[in-house]
Symmetry: C2
Subunit: 362 residues, 2 copies
């Protein structure tokens, strides 16, 4: 079996052993490519990898999709024909299991059918097994994240020279998407352009609003490049910023920098979140910061570890995550600053290098 899949499957078996779980069942989502290099189509025809604790992994796949499975030896392939019973095949491979870990994003219709076919098994989310494994990136994964980060860095830098005023958010968003593709991304995942009052909605859908003079514009964009995700937020303003905008952004920049510096190996995730929160609180901005400080990133745009209150997990070398405090003023504007950071033995390392100052554009 080609690396890195053999090592990853071995680690998963050890985790199953420790958790007292008999098998891992993986369908749509990032766990399956992590262990096999194959991504399931989100279809009504079931694709599912069965990893027994004490046996070889088998991929149950529709006959129609079987030619797409890479021949890397990471698993046996069991294809099922139209009209077949993939639920029965999976249940047969699992056997008389007491505990089953099933992929977090698996479609519920399949989980309900599997529960009916295995009425005595206890089902738990697979992230209990896979989350901690996937959160720690190896050097090839960090290189892939860095390459994706540098691609969006280039996009962010280019956009500083482009006009925003007079264009719709949708038009600017489309330009972010086009430039991500031009810089090597395989697919865009999102390109939020929140101008003026729309910026106060952190996940605003870019719409028909025409960006005007004086508007503060939140641009948060990312995609997937060679399997790994990018995610960056940079701030733009059309024409000279008011002193309120400049001061608020200065406070946000300080809070983001402080949280990045706090992200050292051994520090609990919630402590990093608290640093950003406390920094904004000192400037009277605590109430405007309505979300967590960050999320892990890798094969998925959001994954473990979450940099949030309540997550006592200590950072370990190889954890990759966003640091993205933001402040939101309903009816007026919003601001966010985001970089991807990797925890290393030598300290936190930012993967993004695009300029972080407020970009003044036409």
């Amino acid at each position: 079996m080609s690396e890195p899949f053999a090592g990853r499957q071995a680690a998963a078996r050890l985790a199953l052993e420790r958790a007292g779980i008999d098998a891992l069942l993986l369908s749509v989502g990032a766990d399956l490519p992590y262990f096999t290099g194959y991504e399931a189509m989100p279809l009504e025809r079931l694709t599912m990898l069965v990893v027994p604790r004490d046996g070889d992994a088998t991929l149950v796949v529709p006959e129609l999709e079987a030619p797409r499975v890479p021949a890397n030896g990471s698993c046996e392939v069991h294809s099922w024909a139209e009209g077949g019973d993939p639920i029965g095949v999976v249940a047969g491979l699992v056997g008389a299991a007491a505990g089953v870990a099933i992929g977090d994003h698996t479609w519920t219709r399949f989980t309900l059918a599997l529960q009916a076919a295995m009425p005595h098994a206890r089902f738990v989310p697979a992230s209990r097994i896979t989350g901690t494994l996937r959160a720690v990136k190896d050097s090839a994964e960090i290189a892939a994240l860095r390459a994706a980060a540098h691609a969006v860095d280039a996009v962010a830098a280019e956009m500083r020279t482009r006009p925003f005023g007079g264009r719709t958010e949708r038009d600017v968003s489309r330009e972010f998407v086009d430039r991500m593709l031009a810089h090597g991304h395989d697919r865009p995942n999102f390109a939020i352009v929140g101008s003026g009052p729309n910026g106060a909605s952190p996940h605003h859908d870019a719409g028909d609003r025409v960006i005007g003079e004086g508007d503060v514009v939140v641009c948060d964009f990312g995609g997937t490049m060679r399997g790994y995700c990018s995610d960056i937020t940079r701030m733009f303003v059309v024409g000279a910023p008011t002193s309120e905008v400049a001061d608020t952004y200065a406070a946000l920049t300080v809070a983001q920098e402080a949280a990045v510096l706090a992200a050292t190996v051994g520090t609990p995730c919630e402590a990093v979140d608290a640093v950003a929160r406390r920094s904004l609180q000192e400037r009277g901005l605590a109430d405007a910061f309505i979300h967590r400080t960050g999320h892990g990133i890798g094969l998925e745009a959001h994954e473990d570890p979450y940099i949030a209150a309540g997550n006592a997990t200590p950072l370990v070398a190889g954890h990759a995550f966003s640091i993205e405090p933001g402040v939101y003023f309903p009816g007026r504007f919003g601001m966010r600053l985001e970089d991807i950071v990797v925890a290393t033995a030598a300290g936190p390392e930012r993967l993004n290098e695009a300029p972080r100052d407020l970009a003044v554009v036409d």
Copy 2:
């Protein structure tokens, strides 16, 4: 409440009543926009609509996403703050239910948490309630499907004048995507370009293969336009086709036409599938037809009704579905021909109008 959501929710309540189910729980996927006009982000933060059989619908949504919910009065909005307990909120809204129908595509991690929070409730897939409702399109939905179909018709027609030889599949696929966007699609869903032997894999990922003289090329593409999906397959050949290719395509065209004509109101879906299969069997091509004849289409690219063996559901006026027989010869080539068809009282109506003959290209 704005139409059509009030009528759809009333129909769902009636279906819940008949099925003896107490509540409908909808998250990611097309059921939620069908009933509210709002599409949930596929995120680790839970969004879920609770439709009790005898009460008002409530959308449980992350505070971060709440500004994106359209103010159309289709439901109450209950936003939850970072660190909150959305599972507890949903369980509280459902109350002491004996039966719960949960959206088919809901992430399993949420379903497992809800099962733990409601240990006495029986969970069934929501499609048992929503599938038959959504399958029957009203006139506005058919108009939206027709508009999307005409957009991909225009793309298919344009591509007949474009060169294929000497280009990679990926390059041609990207052109299909660009043209779908140019013709008004909001997002591309797929653009399969399977050339030569790659065409024998029905869901081939467009790759680095360079298309050559004599290649038969399967082009199956579609996307989403104003919420509704397109899906069309047309066949291209580089230079004059061999007589085997021409004869095989003629047989496929006859089979597709026969299945379209068979798709009359009252005919069981499986009978339509059988017509395509029998037609190909008469030409000795039955073994090469390895998938069902079609799938429903609407808010989702694949939904009820499935035109497949084992589905005895009779077609009703307003059913919209693909008719797409195909034949596949491993190591050599594949062919498929697909139109979207609506069952009407006046007979089957094709929404796609692009030329169906084998397009000879450079």
